[in-house]
Point group: C2
Chain length 340, copies 2
Amino acid sequence: MSTHMDKDATKNEAPAYQTNFSQGMFMSAVEEKIARVLGEELPTGCEKPEVLIEAARHLCLAKGAKRIRPRLVSLYGEAMEISPLELLDISVAAEMIHAASLLHDDVVDESSLRRGLETVNCKWGNKVAVLAGDLVLSLGFILLNKYTPNIHRTAVRVVDAMTRAAMLEVQARGCLDFKLDGWYFIAEGKTAKLFSWCGQAVGFYVGDEEIAARFEKCGKHLGIAFQMADDLRDLQGSDPGKERFSDIRNFNPSFPILKAASINSDLHQEISQSWKSAELSQDEVTRLGEAVLRTGVADITIEALELEIKQAIDALGPYQDAQGTMEIVNWTKLLLGSVK
Amino acid sequence: MSTHMDKDATKNEAPAYQTNFSQGMFMSAVEEKIARVLGEELPTGCEKPEVLIEAARHLCLAKGAKRIRPRLVSLYGEAMEISPLELLDISVAAEMIHAASLLHDDVVDESSLRRGLETVNCKWGNKVAVLAGDLVLSLGFILLNKYTPNIHRTAVRVVDAMTRAAMLEVQARGCLDFKLDGWYFIAEGKTAKLFSWCGQAVGFYVGDEEIAARFEKCGKHLGIAFQMADDLRDLQGSDPGKERFSDIRNFNPSFPILKAASINSDLHQEISQSWKSAELSQDEVTRLGEAVLRTGVADITIEALELEIKQAIDALGPYQDAQGTMEIVNWTKLLLGSVK
């Protein structure tokens, strides 16, 4: 098994997974920790329920939560041969930074469903959702207080990038002339930066700047790949429980839509025209979505996706075969499989 | 002039103010820095204005901004005989943490006016206001990256307290049985914690935990005093440009209103009854406001205010007479004068 010290170790077949560490145990610890951080009573001096904490728990403890970011942290930790429990608070902080962004994004997008449940803004209103997001973010940052300063310093920069990307995403709606570097800016801010930080923080934790940079780079391409796949699955209608062509319907210039519009100027014209309306009919949405696919953008997107995946794996270097990070490699295969 | 080394120095008359430091210069530096931090272009890849930055600047650079928090930081810094310019980023961070809370509070309270201008939520909508608050907060935290970790670690705890207080304030509306310790919780979270941090951060900067604790305590009582005075001025109608009795109108259980209701059970009944309506007429608001004052709560509030001020000044200890912190003492006199 590769370690961060013997970088010249021969590539082995993954050994039988015989350690004390169990992903299951770790993820349980994550759930417990989130519940505990959000379990603190809010003194009110008034007979009213602790709505802020209740709302935060509603989102953060929803069964639909995939906990991708804590998993990433634990996988990088495994590769470093440290007990992921040492990284528990980094993992939970990552999840809370993510949750805070969801709470605010749902206010911004006026969404009604999240993780299979009513959104906080729907159930309790915008006031609660805004403040719940602020609370969850603060609590996430507080968890980082125990680690070296580089960890929180990079975390605040991630939130800055996420916020700017969220705003650009709002501004880009309906904008078919939105340049591709704007799409990347959003994908990086929205997803990739936090994925990056998950690995970078682990590198900082073990005190190895080179590893921090390596894992940061891996996370960046992983995040972009994640977004590309997400965009494509929307066109393919392969996400269960999600409405197909929702990017068309919601005027979101996704990666494949932007590509299709740049390939076919008639289609560009058609979508632009449609996107001037306040709302599109189901028929129009389907027609446009199918037209987008007919340009061949699925293959173009898959090609771009494969490139991002390759870059993510290359960034891992010798850790492609390490316990933990090899799971990230496996995950990219699943990601590709979800669109091919 | 007292220094933090010769604590037994004789109390002197304040010497003629002959230093290179000028409050005016420092406040100009603060304005410049805020403008610079918020001057960064947001790449869009799309021909749309940088609304997020524009909104942030609208609030942060409003002429009506009093910059109390940067001033506090500089005054503590003066007492430490350090160039306040070394504390510029702490000052600006304090202002940005404050501004971020205003951006979100205005969404939560659906306010339309702030610092003499239309609120961001009014002018650009809640989406922009929520994200502008997130951005300004991140940028504030990023400014703290250069200092020792205790400074940002305490800052994140302040934001946590501010958020909880903001939520409690929402929940407490209309609640006349709201206990006084709930009022203190709000006053501490809303105002006192950040005032505290302004001084504590300076203590951390000079590496003196005792001073940090002293200035923190001063700020706590200062902030509570500030809120009490604010509440009383609302009843007295002595804030120019602010509508009198707005706490009555908006169902806010302010300090004097809570006191009045606890003194006079008939009045308690009356206000409780009125507060069940969706809206109060001007006549009713005036009637109730004057009834509150007739209970003698102005004197009760002033007494409580004087106690907070005394505790704030006592906390300063030998720094009551130091250049910089003596201005804080002077300011408490002005605060008291604003309600007497």
